[in-house]
């Protein structure tokens, strides 16, 4: 029952969303009236990419294949998928002939590390604060935090990142304002390197965490305020259940459920926001890779990042969705 009603629809949706997303990636360059291959080539030239003749042929072949301009469209579409499923995203035009997957592989640990820690941290702290603020919504500190959140929440990630950057670049010079580690340092599992990474990622992380906290704080506060009015909470109170039990086992436990769904729904937004934050702080993750790809007109790399992101985000959303029934018995036994 649970498998048929919950698991199978999730998987179908997962596959369909990936299918639709990748198909869109395939068709976007074909929607345009001009020849995307020539366009990209001229763009590459305009940006001063020095290409040997051999590289140029390979690029033209690659482009023609990626854009689906060779053979029947169906063949190309099939080949496109076949390549993707082999994990082959083609080569970067600008850093020829480095495979796109290798570039993504280098940038990914930075982004994943930053994004996972900050998202989880923001979600946990925001929810804990929001839960108490919602329960004691009449108290002064609750209203105080809410007022701060009202100002921070509407800002996009990078605007907030810029504000922090200005503050820390001029007013408080505590943290480095750009880079991922000290210049010239070789990545390794040594303490100085890790220390340097943490030090450099402090500001980008802080900007994502504070903003995320404001969002989760506000939603959690509202959810708790509405859960407190639910009849099961009133009922427990009229049964003389101790306040501590009511807060933890009735209010917070139930208020957490929409927050888990909310996390899954907003992962896409958080991801996009984090990419731009990386650019603001020149943090060497996917965002900065994307920025360089755009500046260099490296369309294949952008396509690769997009395809990879579609896979990554939908998979994480699927995982959150699959974990959800562990928290909600109504879905587990229905």
């Amino acid at each position: 029952m649970f498998v048929r009603r919950y698991l199978i629809p999730r998987f179908i949706q997962y596959i369909l969303v990936i299918f639709v997303g990748i198909t869109a990636v395939f068709f976007i360059p074909r929607l345009l009236p001009n020849d995307p291959v020539l366009r990209t080539i001229s763009e590459l030239r305009a940006r001063g990419a020095t290409l040997e003749p051999g590289a140029m042929d390979k690029i033209i072949a690659d482009l023609t294949q990626m854009y689906g301009l060779e053979g029947s469209m169906l063949d190309q579409y099939g080949a496109f998928w076949a390549r993707l499923l082999r994990g082959d995203l083609g080569v970067s035009f600008f850093q020829f002939p480095t495979p796109v997957s290798a570039l993504i592989g280098t940038a990914l640990p930075w982004t994943a590390g930053l994004l996972l820690t900050t998202t989880i941290l923001a979600w946990v702290i925001g929810n804990v604060l929001g839960a108490f603020a919602g329960y004691y919504s009449a108290s002064r500190w609750s209203q105080g935090i809410d007022a701060v959140a009202m100002v921070i929440r509407p800002m996009p990630y990078y605007i907030f990142a810029f504000a922090l950057l200005l503050l820390f670049a001029y007013a408080i010079r505590w943290f480095p304002v750009s880079g991922g580690a000290k210049l010239g340092m070789q990545p390794s599992y040594s303490w100085p390197f890790i220390q340097s990474v943490l030090w450099h990622s402090f500001l980008p992380a802080l900007s994502i965490v504070i903003l995320g906290m404001a969002v989760w704080f506000q939603t959690m506060k509202l959810v708790v305020q509405s859960v407190v009015g639910e009849s099961y909470v009133q009922y427990a109170r009229l049964g003389g259940v101790t306040e501590r039990k009511i807060v933890t086992r009735y209010v917070f436990r139930n208020a957490l459920l929409p927050q888990i769904t909310g996390l899954a729904l907003s992962l896409g937004l958080i991801f996009s926001g984090a990419l731009i934050t990386e650019i603001v702080f020149s943090y060497p993750g996917l965002g900065t890779l994307l920025y360089r790809a755009i500046i260099n007109g490296d369309y294949n790399l952008i396509m690769g990042i997009t395809v990879f992101s579609i896979f990554a985000i939908t998979t994480i959303v699927l995982i959150v969705d699959l974990l959800y029934p562990l928290f909600d018995p109504r879905i587990r036994y229905s």
Binding site: P36, V151, R153, P154, V177, G268, I294, T306
Partner: protein
């Protein structure tokens, strides 16, 4: 009018409203600008704020105060185009799906779910990448409109679903009112406030994406917007070179704009339904 007066008693609406009015005044100052926003080097470069150049000048040789008036005007125009056009799509789709239900409804739910999960922003980047030369105010507004309707169509759909269950729908249908007339005459009045509040949210989203795309260099960078101002500041390493005033102006203006729009929308949706304050403001 009474609704408006009630809303003004809410401090958030009050501030949001007046900040927005100030922004409009600021934007309309662009009509009196002594400089042409398309020309560079009209004033000395990299001047600190002074009596002559109120907010300083940038490395392109433009007066930041006057360029900012154009930037606010253009950013608001983009947001309005995106907001209004995507409202047309969202209202049509939401009403059709909500009223007809069945297959068209399920299809809409799927599209909207997908648009939420797929990193939409990267899709827009891919598109913008290919048409970057023609990314002016109007074309950007339209591009954002194409992507920005899904969530709001969903909200409108669920409202129509609840209206459809109400008594007056049955009465109207039984007395032979046409579907079009029913939707336009009976449902529209209920949905207008919701559509208005989604419009505000959508405008904030559009401004956010405009800035994002501009920072990435995907807009026509000769058109002054809040985003392109930041783009130039980043390209010239304004922060590292100590030209804080160049970054500060667009940042403060955007923060004011985002806060104002958010407060307006929170205040309005709370007024609509104090119990359903949980709402999403998408700013990417």
């Amino acid at each position: 009018m009474k609704v408006f007066r009630d809303l003004l008693r809410d401090y958030r609406f009050f501030f949001g409203f007046w900040i927005l009015v100030l922004m409009l005044v600021f934007a309309s100052l662009s009509l009196f600008s002594p400089y042409d926003p398309g020309l560079w080097g009209e004033v000395p470069r990299d001047m600190r704020p002074s009596a002559e150049y109120w907010l300083g000048t940038d490395s392109n040789g433009q007066d930041i105060f006057w360029i900012a008036t154009f930037a606010v005007r253009n950013s608001l125009t983009i947001a309005l185009i995106a907001g209004l056009v995507s409202r047309l799509i969202a209202v049509t789709v939401g009403m059709v799906a909500g009223y007809l239900g069945g297959k068209s409804d399920r299809a809409l739910m799927f599209v909207s779910d997908s648009l939420l999960v797929i990193p939409l922003f990267l899709m827009i980047v891919m598109l913008a990448m290919l048409i970057r030369d023609s990314m002016g105010v109007v074309s950007l507004g339209l591009l954002l409109a194409i992507f920005g309707w899904a969530w709001d169509a969903r909200l409108i759909r669920s409202q129509i679903l609840s209206l459809r269950e109400r008594e007056f729908t049955k009465t109207a249908v039984l007395s032979g009112t046409g579907t079009m007339r029913l939707v336009l005459n009976e449902y529209m009045p209920y949905s207008t406030p919701l559509i208005f509040s989604t419009l505000i949210n959508n405008m904030a989203w559009a401004i956010g994406l405009e800035i994002t795309l501009a920072i990435l260099g995907l807009l026509d960078t000769s058109v002054p917007t809040l985003g392109t101002m930041l783009y130039w500041a980043i390209s010239y390493q304004a922060v590292l070179l100590g030209r804080w005033w160049w970054v500060l102006t667009p940042i403060v203006l955007s923060i004011l704009l985002f806060v104002a729009l958010y407060w307006l929308s929170v205040s309005i949706s709370e007024y609509l339904d104090p119990r359903r304050r949980i709402q999403r403001v998408g700013v990417g």
